[in-house]
Protein backbone atom coordinates (compact mmCIF):
# COMPACT_ATOMS: atom_id res chain seq x y z
CA UNK A 1 0.00 0.00 0.00
CA UNK A 2 2.81 2.38 0.93
CA UNK A 3 4.64 1.36 -2.21
CA UNK A 4 1.53 2.20 -4.21
CA UNK A 5 1.38 5.62 -2.58
CA UNK A 6 5.04 6.14 -3.39
CA UNK A 7 4.41 5.13 -6.99
CA UNK A 8 1.53 7.55 -7.40
CA UNK A 9 3.53 10.35 -5.83
CA UNK A 10 6.40 9.59 -8.18
CA UNK A 11 4.22 9.53 -11.29
CA UNK A 12 2.54 12.82 -10.46
CA UNK A 13 5.94 14.40 -9.82
CA UNK A 14 7.26 13.18 -13.13
CA UNK A 15 4.30 14.64 -14.97
CA UNK A 16 5.11 18.16 -13.78
CA UNK A 17 8.52 19.10 -12.44
CA UNK A 18 10.89 17.01 -10.37
CA UNK A 19 13.57 18.40 -8.09
CA UNK A 20 16.96 17.25 -9.39
CA UNK A 21 20.63 18.11 -9.18
CA UNK A 22 23.40 18.09 -11.78
CA UNK A 23 25.89 15.30 -10.97
CA UNK A 24 28.88 16.88 -12.77
CA UNK A 25 29.67 20.21 -14.41
CA UNK A 26 27.35 20.31 -17.44
CA UNK A 27 26.50 22.74 -20.21
CA UNK A 28 22.93 24.06 -20.25
CA UNK A 29 21.87 24.09 -23.91
CA UNK A 30 19.18 26.19 -25.63
CA UNK A 31 17.85 23.12 -27.51
CA UNK A 32 18.06 19.35 -26.91
CA UNK A 33 21.09 18.96 -29.20
CA UNK A 34 24.87 19.02 -28.75
CA UNK A 35 25.27 21.64 -31.50
CA UNK A 36 22.74 24.04 -29.93
CA UNK A 37 23.78 27.31 -28.28
CA UNK A 38 25.14 27.05 -24.75
CA UNK A 39 23.01 29.02 -22.29
CA UNK A 40 25.22 28.52 -19.23
CA UNK A 41 27.73 26.21 -17.53
CA UNK A 42 26.07 24.45 -14.60
CA UNK A 43 28.41 23.55 -11.74
CA UNK A 44 28.26 20.10 -10.09
CA UNK A 45 25.39 19.79 -7.59
CA UNK A 46 23.47 22.73 -9.05
CA UNK A 47 19.81 22.33 -8.09
CA UNK A 48 17.30 22.34 -10.96
CA UNK A 49 13.67 21.55 -11.65
CA UNK A 50 13.49 18.82 -14.27
CA UNK A 51 10.61 18.96 -16.77
CA UNK A 52 9.89 17.52 -20.19
CA UNK A 53 12.12 14.81 -21.66
CA UNK A 54 13.12 14.73 -25.32
CA UNK A 55 15.32 11.83 -26.44
CA UNK A 56 18.44 11.82 -24.29
CA UNK A 57 17.73 15.32 -22.94
CA UNK A 58 15.68 16.82 -20.15
CA UNK A 59 14.46 20.39 -19.97
CA UNK A 60 15.45 22.07 -16.69
CA UNK A 61 15.03 25.38 -14.90
CA UNK A 62 17.81 26.53 -12.59
CA UNK A 63 17.36 28.19 -9.19
CA UNK A 64 18.17 31.56 -10.82
CA UNK A 65 15.47 31.01 -13.44
CA UNK A 66 17.60 30.05 -16.45
CA UNK A 67 15.97 27.45 -18.73
CA UNK A 68 17.54 24.99 -21.11
CA UNK A 69 18.38 21.33 -21.73
CA UNK A 70 20.87 18.92 -20.11
CA UNK A 71 21.74 15.27 -20.83
CA UNK A 72 19.54 12.84 -18.84
CA UNK A 73 22.53 11.09 -17.26
CA UNK A 74 23.86 14.44 -15.98
CA UNK A 75 20.92 14.51 -13.53
CA UNK A 76 20.11 12.81 -10.27
CA UNK A 77 16.62 13.07 -8.86
CA UNK A 78 15.13 13.49 -5.44
CA UNK A 79 17.37 16.34 -4.29
CA UNK A 80 17.52 16.31 -0.52
CA UNK A 81 13.99 14.92 -0.19
CA UNK A 82 14.82 11.27 0.45
CA UNK A 83 12.05 8.74 0.73
CA UNK A 84 11.41 7.01 4.02
CA UNK A 85 11.50 3.30 4.74
CA UNK A 86 8.95 1.18 2.88
CA UNK A 87 8.08 -0.32 6.24
CA UNK A 88 9.12 -3.83 5.26
CA UNK A 89 11.44 -4.44 8.20
CA UNK A 90 8.76 -3.60 10.71
CA UNK A 91 6.08 -5.63 8.96
CA UNK A 92 8.36 -8.66 8.55
CA UNK A 93 9.40 -8.50 12.19
CA UNK A 94 5.78 -8.58 13.26
CA UNK A 95 5.13 -11.52 10.96
CA UNK A 96 8.19 -13.40 12.25
CA UNK A 97 7.50 -13.17 15.94
CA UNK A 98 3.72 -13.39 16.03
CA UNK A 99 2.19 -14.38 19.34
CA UNK A 100 3.56 -17.92 19.27
CA UNK A 101 7.12 -16.79 18.59
CA UNK A 102 7.22 -18.76 15.34
CA UNK A 103 6.89 -17.41 11.85
CA UNK A 104 3.34 -16.78 10.76
CA UNK A 105 2.47 -16.23 7.16
CA UNK A 106 0.66 -12.94 7.00
CA UNK A 107 0.48 -10.77 3.90
CA UNK A 108 4.13 -9.72 4.00
CA UNK A 109 6.67 -12.08 2.55
CA UNK A 110 10.23 -10.94 2.91
CA UNK A 111 12.94 -12.13 0.55
CA UNK A 112 16.06 -11.66 2.63
CA UNK A 113 19.36 -13.58 2.87
CA UNK A 114 18.06 -16.01 5.44
CA UNK A 115 14.93 -16.81 3.45
CA UNK A 116 16.95 -17.53 0.31
CA UNK A 117 19.62 -19.66 1.97
CA UNK A 118 17.10 -21.74 3.93
CA UNK A 119 14.51 -22.09 1.16
CA UNK A 120 13.17 -25.54 0.28
CA UNK A 121 12.55 -26.16 -3.42
CA UNK A 122 9.02 -25.48 -4.65
CA UNK A 123 8.68 -27.65 -7.79
CA UNK A 124 4.92 -27.00 -8.06
CA UNK A 125 5.54 -23.25 -8.39
CA UNK A 126 8.24 -23.90 -11.00
CA UNK A 127 5.74 -26.00 -12.97
CA UNK A 128 3.27 -23.12 -12.78
CA UNK A 129 5.94 -20.71 -14.02
CA UNK A 130 6.72 -22.92 -17.01
CA UNK A 131 3.03 -22.70 -17.89
CA UNK A 132 3.33 -18.90 -18.26
CA UNK A 133 6.25 -19.11 -20.72
CA UNK A 134 5.55 -17.59 -24.13
CA UNK A 135 6.84 -19.02 -27.44
CA UNK A 136 9.09 -16.70 -29.47
CA UNK A 137 6.59 -16.18 -32.35
CA UNK A 138 3.86 -15.08 -29.91
CA UNK A 139 6.24 -12.59 -28.30
CA UNK A 140 7.06 -11.19 -31.75
CA UNK A 141 3.34 -10.54 -32.32
CA UNK A 142 3.18 -8.90 -28.90
CA UNK A 143 6.12 -6.65 -29.90
CA UNK A 144 4.37 -5.75 -33.15
CA UNK A 145 1.23 -4.72 -31.24
CA UNK A 146 3.45 -2.29 -29.28
CA UNK A 147 4.98 -1.01 -32.55
CA UNK A 148 8.41 -2.20 -31.41
CA UNK A 149 10.87 -2.58 -34.27
CA UNK A 150 13.90 -4.84 -33.90
CA UNK A 151 17.23 -3.08 -34.51
CA UNK A 152 20.74 -4.28 -35.20
CA UNK A 153 22.92 -2.93 -32.40
CA UNK A 154 26.46 -4.10 -31.57
CA UNK A 155 27.85 -4.51 -28.08
CA UNK A 156 30.38 -1.86 -27.08
CA UNK A 157 34.03 -2.82 -27.56
Amino acid sequence: MKAAAFFLAFVSLAAFAEPAAVVRPSPLMSEPATDATKVADLPANAAVDARERRGGWRQVRTASGQEGWVKILALRYGGSAKGGDSGITQAVNVARTGSSGTQVTTGVRGLDDEKIVNAQPNPAELKKMEGFAVPAPASAEFAQRGKLQAQTVSYPK
Partner: protein, 278 residues
Protein backbone atom coordinates in the same frame (compact mmCIF):
# COMPACT_ATOMS: atom_id res chain seq x y z
CA UNK B 1 39.83 -15.74 -22.25
CA UNK B 2 42.06 -14.35 -19.53
CA UNK B 3 43.56 -17.82 -19.03
CA UNK B 4 44.39 -17.93 -22.71
CA UNK B 5 46.23 -14.65 -22.41
CA UNK B 6 48.26 -16.10 -19.55
CA UNK B 7 49.17 -19.13 -21.65
CA UNK B 8 50.21 -16.97 -24.58
CA UNK B 9 52.27 -14.71 -22.35
CA UNK B 10 54.01 -17.73 -20.86
CA UNK B 11 54.66 -19.29 -24.25
CA UNK B 12 56.25 -16.07 -25.43
CA UNK B 13 58.77 -16.04 -22.58
CA UNK B 14 60.78 -19.30 -22.82
CA UNK B 15 64.15 -17.54 -22.77
CA UNK B 16 63.63 -16.54 -19.16
CA UNK B 17 62.66 -20.02 -18.05
CA UNK B 18 66.21 -21.26 -17.49
CA UNK B 19 66.20 -21.62 -13.71
CA UNK B 20 64.66 -24.70 -12.17
CA UNK B 21 62.74 -22.78 -9.59
CA UNK B 22 61.19 -20.59 -12.22
CA UNK B 23 60.39 -23.63 -14.39
CA UNK B 24 58.43 -25.11 -11.55
CA UNK B 25 56.49 -21.95 -10.96
CA UNK B 26 55.71 -21.64 -14.62
CA UNK B 27 54.53 -25.23 -14.84
CA UNK B 28 52.28 -24.67 -11.88
CA UNK B 29 50.84 -21.52 -13.39
CA UNK B 30 50.38 -23.30 -16.69
CA UNK B 31 48.42 -26.05 -14.95
CA UNK B 32 46.19 -23.58 -13.16
CA UNK B 33 45.57 -21.74 -16.39
CA UNK B 34 44.55 -24.99 -18.10
CA UNK B 35 42.17 -25.86 -15.26
CA UNK B 36 40.42 -22.51 -15.53
CA UNK B 37 39.89 -23.12 -19.23
CA UNK B 38 38.23 -26.52 -18.65
CA UNK B 39 36.25 -25.26 -15.66
CA UNK B 40 34.38 -22.64 -17.64
CA UNK B 41 33.71 -24.88 -20.61
CA UNK B 42 32.73 -28.23 -19.11
CA UNK B 43 29.08 -27.61 -18.28
CA UNK B 44 27.02 -28.45 -21.35
CA UNK B 45 23.86 -26.49 -22.12
CA UNK B 46 21.40 -29.24 -21.05
CA UNK B 47 23.19 -29.44 -17.69
CA UNK B 48 23.17 -25.66 -17.35
CA UNK B 49 19.40 -25.73 -17.91
CA UNK B 50 18.86 -28.52 -15.35
CA UNK B 51 20.97 -26.79 -12.71
CA UNK B 52 19.05 -23.58 -13.42
CA UNK B 53 15.71 -25.31 -12.88
CA UNK B 54 16.86 -26.61 -9.49
CA UNK B 55 18.01 -23.10 -8.54
CA UNK B 56 14.76 -21.54 -9.76
CA UNK B 57 12.74 -24.04 -7.68
CA UNK B 58 14.73 -22.94 -4.59
CA UNK B 59 14.12 -19.24 -5.25
CA UNK B 60 10.41 -19.99 -5.71
CA UNK B 61 10.56 -21.72 -2.33
CA UNK B 62 11.77 -18.43 -0.85
CA UNK B 63 9.06 -16.35 -2.57
CA UNK B 64 6.22 -17.63 -4.79
CA UNK B 65 4.99 -15.94 -7.97
CA UNK B 66 2.52 -13.06 -7.75
CA UNK B 67 -0.87 -14.71 -8.27
CA UNK B 68 -1.74 -12.80 -11.45
CA UNK B 69 -1.52 -14.99 -14.58
CA UNK B 70 -2.08 -12.04 -16.95
CA UNK B 71 0.84 -10.15 -15.37
CA UNK B 72 3.10 -13.22 -15.56
CA UNK B 73 2.28 -13.72 -19.25
CA UNK B 74 2.90 -10.03 -19.95
CA UNK B 75 6.37 -10.19 -18.38
CA UNK B 76 7.08 -13.36 -20.38
CA UNK B 77 6.09 -11.59 -23.60
CA UNK B 78 8.48 -8.71 -22.95
CA UNK B 79 11.28 -11.02 -21.81
CA UNK B 80 10.90 -13.58 -24.60
CA UNK B 81 10.94 -10.86 -27.25
CA UNK B 82 14.16 -9.44 -25.79
CA UNK B 83 15.76 -12.90 -25.50
CA UNK B 84 15.02 -13.43 -29.20
CA UNK B 85 17.34 -10.47 -29.91
CA UNK B 86 20.18 -12.15 -28.00
CA UNK B 87 22.94 -14.63 -28.90
CA UNK B 88 21.10 -17.45 -27.07
CA UNK B 89 17.59 -17.17 -28.55
CA UNK B 90 16.78 -20.87 -28.21
CA UNK B 91 17.16 -21.36 -24.46
CA UNK B 92 13.91 -22.27 -22.63
CA UNK B 93 13.45 -18.65 -21.49
CA UNK B 94 10.94 -18.02 -18.71
CA UNK B 95 10.24 -14.93 -16.66
CA UNK B 96 8.40 -14.41 -13.39
CA UNK B 97 7.35 -11.72 -10.91
CA UNK B 98 8.08 -12.87 -7.34
CA UNK B 99 5.62 -11.95 -4.60
CA UNK B 100 8.12 -10.04 -2.43
CA UNK B 101 8.19 -6.37 -1.40
CA UNK B 102 11.98 -6.11 -1.72
CA UNK B 103 13.43 -4.34 -4.76
CA UNK B 104 15.48 -6.92 -6.67
CA UNK B 105 15.87 -9.08 -9.78
CA UNK B 106 17.58 -12.43 -10.34
CA UNK B 107 19.03 -14.28 -13.31
CA UNK B 108 19.25 -18.06 -13.14
CA UNK B 109 21.49 -20.12 -15.46
CA UNK B 110 19.76 -21.61 -18.48
CA UNK B 111 17.25 -18.82 -19.12
CA UNK B 112 15.12 -18.13 -16.04
CA UNK B 113 14.69 -14.53 -14.88
CA UNK B 114 12.83 -13.11 -11.88
CA UNK B 115 11.91 -9.58 -10.86
CA UNK B 116 10.30 -8.83 -7.52
CA UNK B 117 6.94 -7.14 -7.12
CA UNK B 118 8.79 -4.42 -5.16
CA UNK B 119 10.93 -3.56 -8.18
CA UNK B 120 8.03 -3.72 -10.66
CA UNK B 121 6.10 -1.26 -8.48
CA UNK B 122 8.86 1.31 -8.97
CA UNK B 123 8.77 1.10 -12.77
CA UNK B 124 6.81 3.46 -14.97
CA UNK B 125 6.99 1.96 -18.45
CA UNK B 126 7.49 -1.22 -20.45
CA UNK B 127 10.87 0.17 -21.58
CA UNK B 128 11.98 0.25 -17.92
CA UNK B 129 10.83 -3.34 -17.41
CA UNK B 130 12.66 -4.26 -20.63
CA UNK B 131 15.84 -2.58 -19.38
CA UNK B 132 15.81 -4.65 -16.17
CA UNK B 133 14.96 -7.92 -17.95
CA UNK B 134 17.67 -7.25 -20.56
CA UNK B 135 20.23 -6.76 -17.76
CA UNK B 136 19.26 -10.15 -16.28
CA UNK B 137 19.21 -11.81 -19.72
CA UNK B 138 22.79 -10.58 -20.17
CA UNK B 139 23.88 -12.42 -17.00
CA UNK B 140 22.50 -15.62 -18.57
CA UNK B 141 24.16 -14.92 -21.94
CA UNK B 142 27.57 -14.46 -20.32
CA UNK B 143 26.98 -17.34 -17.83
CA UNK B 144 27.99 -15.08 -14.93
CA UNK B 145 26.22 -17.11 -12.24
CA UNK B 146 27.16 -20.48 -13.69
CA UNK B 147 30.85 -19.55 -13.71
CA UNK B 148 30.68 -18.11 -10.18
CA UNK B 149 28.96 -21.27 -8.86
CA UNK B 150 31.59 -23.45 -10.50
CA UNK B 151 34.34 -21.35 -9.01
CA UNK B 152 32.97 -21.60 -5.48
CA UNK B 153 32.16 -25.32 -5.94
CA UNK B 154 35.77 -26.06 -6.86
CA UNK B 155 36.90 -25.14 -3.37
CA UNK B 156 34.23 -27.18 -1.58
CA UNK B 157 33.55 -30.12 -3.90
CA UNK B 158 36.44 -32.30 -5.08
CA UNK B 159 36.70 -32.93 -8.83
CA UNK B 160 34.63 -36.12 -8.97
CA UNK B 161 31.95 -34.79 -6.63
CA UNK B 162 31.62 -31.65 -8.74
CA UNK B 163 31.25 -33.69 -11.91
CA UNK B 164 28.59 -35.79 -10.17
CA UNK B 165 26.80 -32.67 -8.95
CA UNK B 166 26.68 -31.30 -12.48
CA UNK B 167 25.49 -34.51 -14.12
CA UNK B 168 23.32 -36.22 -11.47
CA UNK B 169 20.34 -34.16 -10.27
CA UNK B 170 19.44 -36.65 -7.51
CA UNK B 171 22.76 -36.92 -5.67
CA UNK B 172 23.85 -35.28 -2.43
CA UNK B 173 26.56 -33.32 -4.22
CA UNK B 174 23.84 -31.70 -6.35
CA UNK B 175 22.16 -30.39 -3.23
CA UNK B 176 25.44 -28.79 -2.18
CA UNK B 177 25.89 -27.24 -5.62
CA UNK B 178 22.39 -25.71 -5.57
CA UNK B 179 22.96 -24.39 -2.04
CA UNK B 180 26.13 -22.68 -3.26
CA UNK B 181 24.06 -21.23 -6.10
CA UNK B 182 21.44 -19.85 -3.71
CA UNK B 183 24.11 -18.31 -1.49
CA UNK B 184 25.46 -16.50 -4.51
CA UNK B 185 22.24 -14.42 -4.66
CA UNK B 186 22.95 -13.14 -1.15
CA UNK B 187 26.65 -12.44 -1.84
CA UNK B 188 26.42 -11.04 -5.35
CA UNK B 189 28.56 -11.40 -8.45
CA UNK B 190 31.80 -9.57 -9.27
CA UNK B 191 31.09 -5.89 -9.81
CA UNK B 192 32.56 -6.17 -13.32
CA UNK B 193 29.82 -8.71 -14.18
CA UNK B 194 27.15 -6.21 -13.10
CA UNK B 195 28.67 -3.39 -15.15
CA UNK B 196 28.89 -5.70 -18.16
CA UNK B 197 25.24 -6.76 -17.76
CA UNK B 198 24.26 -3.06 -17.66
CA UNK B 199 26.07 -2.35 -20.96
CA UNK B 200 24.72 -5.45 -22.70
CA UNK B 201 21.27 -4.83 -21.24
CA UNK B 202 21.10 -1.37 -22.81
CA UNK B 203 22.06 -2.89 -26.18
CA UNK B 204 19.50 -5.74 -25.97
CA UNK B 205 16.66 -3.38 -24.99
CA UNK B 206 17.60 -1.13 -27.94
CA UNK B 207 17.66 -4.20 -30.24
CA UNK B 208 14.14 -4.98 -29.05
CA UNK B 209 13.01 -1.55 -30.21
CA UNK B 210 12.61 -0.03 -26.73
CA UNK B 211 13.70 3.39 -25.51
CA UNK B 212 17.35 2.79 -24.56
CA UNK B 213 17.00 4.84 -21.37
CA UNK B 214 14.78 2.24 -19.65
CA UNK B 215 17.51 0.71 -17.49
CA UNK B 216 19.16 4.08 -16.66
CA UNK B 217 15.73 5.41 -15.63
CA UNK B 218 15.26 2.54 -13.16
CA UNK B 219 18.77 3.14 -11.78
CA UNK B 220 17.91 6.83 -11.35
CA UNK B 221 14.75 5.84 -9.45
CA UNK B 222 16.82 3.60 -7.13
CA UNK B 223 19.38 6.38 -6.73
CA UNK B 224 16.65 8.76 -5.58
CA UNK B 225 15.33 6.31 -2.96
CA UNK B 226 16.55 6.32 0.62
CA UNK B 227 19.61 4.04 0.62
CA UNK B 228 18.67 2.95 4.17
CA UNK B 229 15.29 1.66 2.98
CA UNK B 230 15.21 -1.99 4.05
CA UNK B 231 13.56 -2.93 0.74
CA UNK B 232 16.85 -2.06 -0.97
CA UNK B 233 19.23 -3.73 1.50
CA UNK B 234 19.95 -6.92 -0.42
CA UNK B 235 20.06 -5.28 -3.84
CA UNK B 236 22.48 -2.60 -2.62
CA UNK B 237 24.67 -5.16 -0.84
CA UNK B 238 24.99 -7.31 -3.96
CA UNK B 239 25.37 -4.62 -6.64
CA UNK B 240 27.56 -1.56 -7.27
CA UNK B 241 25.76 1.66 -6.25
CA UNK B 242 23.27 3.14 -8.76
CA UNK B 243 25.52 6.22 -8.96
CA UNK B 244 28.53 4.12 -10.03
CA UNK B 245 26.40 2.14 -12.50
CA UNK B 246 24.98 5.32 -14.07
CA UNK B 247 28.48 6.82 -14.25
CA UNK B 248 29.79 3.71 -16.03
CA UNK B 249 26.90 3.75 -18.51
CA UNK B 250 27.46 7.42 -19.22
CA UNK B 251 31.16 6.75 -19.89
CA UNK B 252 30.75 3.78 -22.22
CA UNK B 253 27.21 3.81 -23.60
CA UNK B 254 26.32 7.42 -24.43
CA UNK B 255 26.32 6.90 -28.25
CA UNK B 256 23.98 3.87 -28.09
CA UNK B 257 21.77 5.56 -25.49
CA UNK B 258 21.41 8.65 -27.68
CA UNK B 259 20.83 6.77 -30.91
CA UNK B 260 17.85 4.79 -29.55
CA UNK B 261 16.44 7.32 -27.07
CA UNK B 262 13.29 8.02 -29.07
CA UNK B 263 12.08 4.43 -29.41
CA UNK B 264 8.77 3.52 -27.68
CA UNK B 265 8.50 3.52 -23.87
CA UNK B 266 4.96 2.11 -23.74
CA UNK B 267 3.93 3.53 -20.34
CA UNK B 268 0.20 2.95 -21.01
CA UNK B 269 0.52 -0.73 -21.85
CA UNK B 270 2.73 -1.19 -18.78
CA UNK B 271 0.24 0.62 -16.51
CA UNK B 272 -2.69 -1.44 -17.75
CA UNK B 273 -0.87 -4.81 -17.54
CA UNK B 274 0.50 -4.14 -14.03
CA UNK B 275 -2.55 -2.43 -12.53
CA UNK B 276 -3.18 -5.19 -9.98
CA UNK B 277 0.24 -4.47 -8.43
CA UNK B 278 -0.96 -1.04 -7.31
Amino acid sequence: MRALVVILALAAAPAHAQFNLRDLNINKMFDTAKKVVTATSDIAEPEEINIGHDMAARLLGAAPLVNDPALQRYVNNVGRWLASQSERPNLPWQFGVLDAPEVNAFAVPGGTVFVTKGLAQHMQSEAQLAGVLAHEISHVLRKHHLKAIQKSAQTSLAGDALQQAIKDPSGLARDKLISLGSELYTRGLDKSDEFEADRLGVVIAARGGYDSYGLPAVLQTLQAMNAQDSALAMMFKTHPSPTDRLGALSERMQPVLDQYATQPQLPERFASETKKLR
